[in-house]
C-alpha cells in the first residue's frame, strides 16, 4: 500500500482537544483520527463516531454458552451416559445451573475479548503506525490524512486550523 501521509497536531489537554475537534468539524474538515493516552469522554460524540456494537456481540456469545452447556449436559446425562448417582434423576436441572452459568460467562468474556482484539486490529506482533510516542503518555493528537494530490495551500490551511484550535505542536509525518 502506498505510504500514508498525515498532518497532526498535538494537544496538552483533552478538553482543548474536544473543542478543537468540534471547531474543525464545524469548518467541514475531515479528521482522520484522534490519539489519546486515556479514554476521553465525549470525544467519540464530538468526532461523530458510531456507538460500538461490541456489547451486543457479548450477548450473543453468552447465549451460545448457555445453550452449549444445557444441550451438552442434557444429552450426556439422559441419552449418552445415564448413570444413577445417589438415586438422583438423570435430568436434574438444578445441578446443572452452576456449570451452565459458568459457560455462559466464559463464552461471553472470551468471545468479546477476541472480537475486541479483532476490531482494534490488536495482536502480538502487530506493528502499529505510531503518530507520536507521547500520545500514550500525556499528549493528545488530531490527525489529517494528506496525499501527493494535496496542495501545499491545503496543508497550510490544515496547520492553521490546528494552531488556531490550540495545538501545541504541529507536524507532518509519513509512514
Amino acid at each position: 500500500m502506498a505510504n500514508k501521509k498525515i498532518i497532526y497536531g498535538l494537544y496538552e489537554d483533552e478538553t482543548v482537544l474536544i473543542k478543537a475537534v468540534k471547531t474543525v468539524r464545524s469548518e467541514g474538515m475531515k479528521i482522520d483520527d484522534c490519539y489519546t493516552p486515556f479514554p476521553v469522554h465525549g470525544l467519540d460524540d464530538a468526532m461523530g463516531l458510531r456507538h460500538t456494537k461490541l456489547h451486543s456481540a457479548g450477548f450473543v456469545f453468552g447465549a451460545t454458552g448457555t445453550l452449549t452447556a444445557l444441550t451438552f449436559i442434557l444429552w450426556i446425562t439422559t441419552n449418552n451416559y445415564p448413570v444413577n448417582y445417589g438415586g438422583k434423576p438423570f435430568l436434574s436441572l438444578p445441578a446443572w445451573i452452576p456449570i451452565t452459568f459458568e459457560l455462559t460467562v466464559l463464552f461471553a468474556a472470551v468471545g468479546m475479548f477476541l472480537t475486541y482484539l479483532y476490531l482494534n486490529r490488536l495482536a502480538p506482533g502487530v506493528k502499529p503506525d505510531i503518530v507520536d510516542e507521547r500520545t500514550t503518555s500525556h499528549l493528545f493528537a488530531m490527525t489529517f490524512e494528506v496525499d501527493d494530490q494535496t496542495t501545499d495551500q491545503r496543508k497550510e490551511e490544515i496547520k492553521r486550523v490546528l494552531a488556531a484550535s490550540g495545538a501545541v505542536e504541529i507536524h507532518e509525518k509519513e509512514f
Binding site: N84, G86, G87, P89
Partner: protein, 1046 residues
C-alpha cells in the same frame, strides 16, 4: 529330481539332535521354577506382573505344583486335568490343624493355588464356622520366611542340605545306636495316624518317649479331670444346651480350647425371635476384659486370685457346703451378683454350664464338683466324645530339660512347638539342647528352638500335607494337599517313617491305618475313604474313632503316666479349697494375668501380617502386646494410654506400653503372650514383647497368674496402633442412636423394644424430592442384615474379607496414622461404668446406600449405583479426590495412601519415612491374591463391594444351569466366615429370601436411617438378658481424656 527340502535353519538342515528333540516338545522353554528358590524375592511387582503371575501360577502351580491335589499323579498342563479349568475355582475339603487348634475347612484353589479358606458346613464340630486364624492360615503358606530346604548346623551356623544328606546323617546315627534315648517333644497331636507313626517309631527305637505340651497349657484341667473323672481329657462342652452359663475366666468365644465350636453352640442360645424369645443368661467372672466377657450379660471384674473364691462360693451356694470357709469377694455388689448367678444355676440344673479357664487344678476340681452337683455331666458336658484339642502335660518340658541336663537324651526331636520361645524354662532348654548328641527340629519356619538344634527338617504347611485328625473322640477329619509343596520340605511323619525304615509314604500309611481301624467295619474301604476325603470328614455313629484314640493313648503314654502318678494336687474338694484359700492369702499387691490374644495365639501365628493387623476385638489395638490396666487404676498411678512401663513379675522385668482397658479389674493388669518373636521373618519379627519368661512354670501346671507385680513408668510414651480411639456413643449431648439395644424382659413385652423410634426415622424418608425415582424393579437388589445379638466381635469376617478382596496390609506405622485398609471393621462401643462397661460390637462395612452421598460428589463418576442396588467402585476411573470418603457418613471408604498393594503404575514405591516391608509385596506372597479382584493401585479409593465377584459368579453358574439365581446360592466372604451366623445376605426383591424375613423383624433397623440415605445394610437390636435396672446403656461414659490422642 531329488525331493525338494524346506528348512528353517542350518541346524535343522543338518538335523542337529537337540533341535529335533526340542521340536518334539511343545514347551521348549525353561519353566520358571526358580521362582520358588527365592532368587526372585527382590523383584517388585506392578499391576501387569499380577496378570503375568496369574498366567505364571497357571503353569507353575500346575507344572511345578502339578495339581497334585487329591490325585496322586502329576499331570503336566498340556493334558488338561478334568478338575482344573482356568478361571474356575476348585474346592477341596480339608482340615485346619495347627497345634491343638482345629477347624474343618473347604479350600478354594484357583489354577492350583489355594487362595481362600471357608468353613465346612458338614462338620458336626465347627459346623462351617471359621476363626480369624483359620482364615489367615492360607497366607502363611506363602510366607517368605518359610524354610526352602533342610538345613544342617556346622561351625558356621546353618547350611542348606539335601534330604539325602540329612537322612543318611540321621538314620546313620539311629542305626548306630537303636537303644538311644530319643525324645520327641511335640504340641498336642490331633492326628491318630501321626500317633501311630510315633508308635511305629517307638517300636523300632524302644527308648523313644513322646512328650507333648501346649504353649498355652490346659493340663490343670486335664489333671483335675483325671482326679475327679479318671480321664486325662477335656470333656465335650455343649453350650447350645446351656440355659445358664457361668464362665470363670474362660474365654470360650475367643481362645478357649475350641472357640469356633463353642461360638456355634453359644449363639444358638442367643438367636431370639418373637416366636422364641428365650436366650441363655451368661455370667462371666474374670479379671481382664475378654471377648467372652464383653459378650456376657453380666460381667463381674474380679482379681485373678479371686477366681478360686468365685468357684468356691458358687460351689457353696449350690451345694450348701462351706468349702469357702468365709472366703468372699471384697466388693458387696460383686458377691451378690455371684449369689445371683448361683441361684440361676440352681434353677437350671442339668441345663447349665460352669467353665473355667484357670490352669489351676484346684479351681478346675471345684468347677467339676459344681457341674457334678448341678447334674450337668452327660447333659451339657460329657466324656462320651472327649475333646482332644488339648493334651499337653506341663511337666513334660520340665522333665525333658532335666533329662537333657543330665545328658540322658541322645536324640531330641522337636515337632510343631517352640519351647525355647514359649516356655518359661526356654532359656534352660536352649542351653540344655546342646547336651543332646543330635537335635532335630521339624519347624517349617526357622524359630527360636530350631535355631538351637543341629538339624532342621522343615515340615509341610498343612495345606501341602496329608493328615487326619480326631479333634473329638469319634469325629474324624482328613486334610489333603491343595498344592504340591512349594519348597523342598517334607512332612514330619514321612521323615519319621523314613528314619525308622518304613518304606511307605505317610499317605499310604494313613490309608492303611484307616482301613485297619476307622474303616474296619466297611466293605469297600477305598470308596468310603474317598467319600470321607471328599467331605473331609468321617463322623460315624459307631466307636470307630475310639479305637484310634486308644492307639494314640499308647503313643503319648509318657504324658498320661505323668498325670496318673503325678500331681500332688488334692483330688477332693476340701483339699482343693484349702489350696485355693492358701493361694488367695499368698497373693499380694498388684496381680497380673497372662492371656492368649485372639489373633496371634501362643505365638505360632506371629508370622502372619493379616493377623497382626487384625485389631484386637476388645482393645482395637494392632501390631503389639500391651499391659491392660483399668482406667481408675491408671489415674491413680498417673499412667496414660501408651506410657512405657517396666513390668516386673517373679523377679523378671520387661518394658511394655500401657493400654487403658475399661473392664480390667482394678488392681490387676494383664498382658498377651505370643508376641516378641525374634526369629519369624518379616511378618512379625520384633512385634511386641515376649512375656513367656515372666510366667511361673515351677508348679505342676503353668500358672498364668501372678501377684506382687510392680509397674513403674519409664516416663516415655508411645503411640499404640489403635484403629478405634473413641468408645462411647454418648457425645455429651446424649446417646447416638447408632446402636440400639434392649433387655430380654423388655423385648418379651414388646418386640419393638429399643427400636421404637424407627417408625419416625422411616417417616422422615417420606419427605423427598425424588420419591423412589428409579422405582422398584424385578431382578436383584442386594442387601445385608447383621444381628448384633449374635455377633461376638471375633473378627473372622475381617480376615475373610482381607483374603477375598486382596486388602493390603499397611503395618504399624500406617495404622497409627489411621491408614488401615480394612473394608470390614468391627466397631466396639462401651457404655455404663468405665470400670466394668457394657460392650456392644457393630460390624461396619459399606452400607451400599440407595441414595449414596458418596456417589453424588465424585467428579468423575468413579463410584455410582449399580442396577442391582449396590454401590460400585470403578478403580480405573478413580482419580483420588477423597471427596466420597469425606462425604461418607459411615466412614467406610479407604484410600490407598501409598502403594500398599504393589500395584502401582510407577512400580512399588514406599514413602521415605518408611512404611515397613512386611514381605507382603513379594511375588511369593502375592500368590495368595484373589485373581477375581483388582489389586488397587496407589491413590484410589476402595471399599466393600458386597463381594460383587461372588454375586457375578453365582449368577453365571445359575445361568449356565439355566435357572433363576435362588436365595443362598452363594455367600459373601464375611457371611461365610462368621461362626456366629450373624450375617445374612440376600435379595431385597425376593419376598421369599431369608433377608426379607430378617428385614420384616421388629428388631431390624438401619444406621442413621432418618437421613434418607437408605442403607442396604440392616442391623438387629442387641438384646441383653439382664434386669432393666442393671441396663445402664444410656449412662454417659467418657474415658477419652485417658487417651493421648487429643
Amino acid at each position: 529330481m531329488a525331493e525338494k527340502k524346506y528348512w528353517k535353519g542350518l541346524e535343522e538342515l543338518n538335523q542337529e539332535p537337540e533341535l529335533v528333540q526340542l521340536n518334539q516338545l511343545e514347551f521348549n522353554e525353561e519353566i520358571p521354577v526358580d521362582f520358588f528358590d527365592g532368587k526372585n524375592d527382590s523383584l517388585k511387582s506392578n499391576r501387569r506382573d499380577f496378570l503375568k503371575m496369574m498366567g505364571f501360577s497357571l503353569t507353575a502351580a500346575t507344572v511345578a505344583a502339578g495339581c497334585e491335589i487329591p490325585v496322586r499323579k502329576v499331570a503336566p498342563y498340556v493334558f488338561k486335568p478334568e478338575d482344573i479349568t482356568p478361571g474356575i475355582a476348585t474346592w477341596y475339603a480339608s482340615s485346619y490343624i495347627n497345634g491343638g487348634d482345629y477347624c474343618s475347612i473347604l479350600v478354594k484353589t484357583r489354577e492350583g493355588r489355594p487362595i481362600k479358606i471357608e468353613g465346612n458346613t458338614d462338620s458336626k464340630i465347627t459346623k462351617g464356622g471359621t476363626s480369624a486364624r483359620v482364615q489367615a492360615s492360607v497366607l502363611s503358606l506363602y510366607d517368605t520366611s518359610r524354610l526352602r530346604n533342610p538345613m544342617t548346623k556346622g561351625e558356621r551356623g546353618f547350611t542348606n542340605a539335601s534330604w539325602d544328606d540329612v537322612d543318611t546323617a540321621i538314620t546313620g546315627k539311629l542305626i548306630a545306636n537303636p537303644n538311644a534315648n530319643i525324645r520327641i517333644l511335640t504340641s498336642t497331636i490331633l492326628s491318630p495316624s501321626t500317633k501311630k507313626v510315633f508308635a511305629k517309631f517307638t517300636e523300632k527305637y524302644p527308648n523313644t518317649k513322646v512328650y507333648s505340651y501346649d504353649a498355652l497349657s490346659y493340663s490343670g484341667m486335664l489333671m483335675a479331670n483325671m482326679a475327679s473323672k479318671g480321664k486325662a481329657e477335656i470333656p465335650d462342652y455343649d453350650f447350645a444346651k446351656a440355659k445358664v452359663i457361668v464362665s470363670i475366666d474362660a474365654d470360650f468365644l475367643g481362645t478357649w480350647i475350641s472357640p469356633i465350636e463353642y461360638t456355634k453352640g453359644y449363639i444358638k442360645t442367643r438367636k431370639i425371635s418373637k416366636e422364641n424369645p428365650n436366650m441363655s443368661r451368661h455370667y462371666q467372672f474374670e479379671s481382664r476384659m475378654s471377648l467372652t466377657g464383653s459378650n456376657a450379660d453380666y460381667r463381674v471384674a474380679v482379681l485373678p486370685s479371686e477366681l478360686g473364691t468365685v468357684a468356691l462360693n458358687l460351689y457353696d451356694a449350690i451345694t450348701g457346703n462351706n468349702a469357702s470357709s468365709g472366703l468372699k469377694l471384697k466388693d458387696e455388689a460383686k458377691q451378690n451378683r455371684l449369689k445371683e448367678a448361683a441361684e440361676w444355676l440352681k434353677k437350671h440344673r442339668g441345663q447349665s454350664l460352669v467353665v473355667s479357664g484357670c490352669n489351676d487344678v484346684n479351681v478346675q476340681l471345684i468347677v467339676n464338683a459344681i457341674n457334678e452337683a448341678l447334674g450337668n455331666y452327660g447333659k451339657t458336658l460329657s466324656f462320651d466324645n472327649s475333646n482332644m484339642m488339648r493334651q499337653g502335660i506341663d511337666n513334660s518340658v520340665k522333665d525333658l530339660v532335666s533329662e537333657l541336663k543330665a545328658g540322658q537324651v541322645n536324640i531330641l526331636m522337636v515337632h510343631d512347638c517352640n519351647p525355647v520361645y514359649d516356655h518359661a524354662m526356654g532359656v534352660d532348654l536352649a542351653e540344655a539342647i546342646a547336651k543332646a548328641e543330635m537335635s532335630i527340629s521339624f519347624a517349617g519356619n526357622m524359630n527360636e528352638t530350631a535355631e538351637k538344634c543341629n538339624f532342621v527338617c522343615p515340615d509341610h504347611h498343612f495345606l501341602e500335607s496329608w493328615n487326619d485328625a480326631e479333634p473329638k473322640k469319634g469325629y474324624l477329619s482328613l486334610s489333603q494337599p491343595t498344592i504340591k509343596n512349594l519348597f523342598e520340605t517334607r512332612q514330619m511323619q514321612d521323615s519319621l517313617l523314613a528314619w525308622c525304615g518304613v518304606m511307605t509314604t505317610y499317605h499310604d500309611f494313613m490309608m492303611q491305618n484307616w482301613s485297619d481301624s476307622v474303616l474296619a467295619g466297611s466293605i469297600d474301604k477305598s470308596t468310603s475313604f474317598n467319600k470321607a476325603l471328599q467331605i473331609g470328614l468321617h463322623q460315624p455313629e459307631n466307636a470307630g474313632g475310639i479305637a484310634l484314640a486308644i492307639e494314640s493313648a499308647a503313643a503319648i503314654l509318657a504324658g498320661v503316666a505323668m498325670v496318673n502318678n503325678g500331681p500332688a494336687a488334692g483330688t477332693d474338694v476340701s483339699s482343693a479349697a484349702a489350696n485355693i484359700s492358701a493361694m488367695v492369702k499368698k497373693s499380694t499387691g498388684v496381680e497380673i494375668q497372662f492371656y492368649e490374644s485372639i489373633a496371634i495365639g501362643d505365638g505360632r501365628y506371629a508370622d502372619n501380617p493379616w493377623l497382626h493387623e487384625l485389631p484386637d476385638p476388645v482393645s482395637k489395638i494392632t501390631w503389639d502386646n500391651y499391659l491392660n490396666v483399668s482406667p481408675a487404676w491408671a489415674r491413680e498411678n498417673g499412667l496414660t494410654h501408651g506410657d512405657l512401663v517396666t513390668l516386673t513379675v517373679n523377679g523378671k522385668s520387661v518394658i511394655v506400653p500401657v493400654a487403658i482397658q475399661p473392664g480390667q479389674a482394678f488392681g490387676s493388669v494383664s498382658i498377651a503372650v505370643g508376641y516378641g518373636r525374634t526369629l519369624i521373618g518379616k511378618g512379625g519379627e520384633g512385634v511386641g514383647v515376649n512375656v513367656y519368661p515372666l510366667i511361673d512354670a515351677s508348679g505342676d501346671s503353668v500358672n498364668y497368674m501372678a501377684s506382687g507385680v510392680t509397674v513403674s513408668s519409664t516416663g516415655e510414651n508411645v503411640k499404640l496402633a489403635q484403629t478405634q480411639t473413641h468408645f462411647s456413643l454418648n457425645d455429651g449431648l446424649g446417646q447416638r442412636r447408632i446402636v440400639k439395644e434392649t433387655t430380654l424382659e423388655e423385648y418379651k413385652k414388646n418386640p419393638l423394644a429399643g427400636n421404637e423410634d424407627r417408625a419416625e426415622a422411616l417417616a422422615w424418608q417420606e419427605i423427598t424430592f425424588y420419591p423412589d425415582y428409579f422405582g422398584k424393579k424385578n431382578g436383584f437388589n442386594w442387601g445385608m442384615s447383621i444381628d448384633l445379638n449374635s455377633c461376638t466381635g471375633c473378627g473372622a469376617c475381617v480376615i475373610s474379607c482381607n483374603a477375598e478382596n486382596n486388602i493390603p496390609v499397611v503395618g504399624k506405622k500406617e495404622v497409627i496414622r489411621s491408614h488401615e485398609m480394612h473394608w470390614m471393621r468391627i466397631d466396639r462401643y462401651y457404655s455404663g461404668d468405665p470400670e466394668n462397661p457394657e460392650v456392644v460390637y457393630q460390624p461396619m462395612l459399606c452400607q451400599h446406600c440407595e441414595n449414596a452421598p458418596c456417589e453424588n460428589v465424585c467428579p468423575v463418576g468413579a463410584t455410582n449405583h449399580s442396577s442391582e442396588g449396590y454401590n460400585q467402585m470403578a478403580y480405573n476411573r478413580c482419580i483420588g479426590t477423597r471427596y466420597c470418603a469425606n462425604n461418607c457418613p459411615y466412614k467406610v471408604r479407604r484410600f490407598n495412601w501409598f502403594d500398599y498393594g504393589a500395584a502401582d503404575t510407577f512400580g512399588a514405591m514406599n514413602d521415605p519415612s518408611g512404611t515397613e516391608d512386611l514381605g507382603m509385596m513379594e511375588d511369593l506372597t502375592r500368590m495368595v491374591l484373589n485373581p477375581d479382584v483388582t489389586v488397587r493401585s496407589r491413590g484410589v479409593i476402595e471399599k466393600c463391594s458386597f463381594c460383587v465377584q461372588r454375586i457375578q459368579e453365582a449368577k453365571l453358574t445359575a445361568k449356565k444351569g439355566n435357572r433363576e439365581l435362588v436365595d443362598g446360592d452363594f455367600r459373601v466372604a464375611c457371611q461365610s466366615a462368621c461362626p456366629a451366623e450373624a450375617i445374612t445376605f440376600g435379595n431385597n426383591y425376593d419376598e421369599t429370601s431369608k433377608l426379607m424375613a430378617e428385614a420384616k423383624d421388629e428388631r431390624t433397623f438401619g444406621i442413621l436411617e432418618e437421613f434418607h440415605w437408605m442403607p442396604s445394610v440392616m442391623y438387629k437390636t442387641k438384646v441383653r438378658n439382664k434386669d432393666k435396672a442393671d441396663h445402664k446403656n444410656e449412662e454417659a461414659l467418657d474415658i477419652m481424656d485417658l487417651y493421648n490422642y487429643n
